[in-house]
Amino acid sequence: MATPRTFVVPARGIGRKDYSAVVEHATQASMRGHQTRYSSVIALTLPTVPFGFFYTVYFIFPGGIVTAPATPRHFYNILNSTERNALVLAAFFRFNSWADYLIHNVDEWYGTVYGYGKAELHWTNGIKTEEGKVYAAGICEYSERPNFTIHMTSHSLFEEVVYG
């Protein structure tokens, strides 16, 4: 954890009737924090499958790793859309390990939604990742055509606090 810096309150206003060292100290920012925003975007063409089947695509974290890092990441939404007004699926899963992901041994199922043209899962408070777990989205379009192209957008934030 970073050490908060200290500073000297400049000698201005001392002697004025309305001067207060406490107020002057409180109005000077000593900590800044921010969250880095990331978006995952996919545009994939896949063979069409019957209802009851879907595809899963895993999230890749910075560095090319497939398991969540120690710094938590907050997922806020999964939005799947297609160019046609066909039935679309959006889902979000958590797996304990890569081996569990490969056999679809779900640890936590965050939801599945369907929609025509687009389907969106949205979490106001975000889903916080746990280190070492694999996170994957469910994607699919159901129509009579042999192939489909689906677009997915997912917004997430990394916790980062900067002192200074």
Binding site: S40, A43, F54, Y55, T56, I60, Y101, L102, H104, V106
Partner: protein, 57 residues
Amino acid sequence: MAKGRKKIKPEKKFKPKGKVIKKVKAKGKMITITGDGEIIEETENPEVLLVEITKEK
């Protein structure tokens, strides 16, 4: 256990069961970008899993 006290059972988690049918090579791209628009990860033709839902509840 005191007389008359009921044992509280843990809630059953709702987990749909699925079976991976096969791995499929998708045509297209997976991109991770920062809020500034900087591309930090890009994968072409990623491998996705085809899953069949075997149990709804």
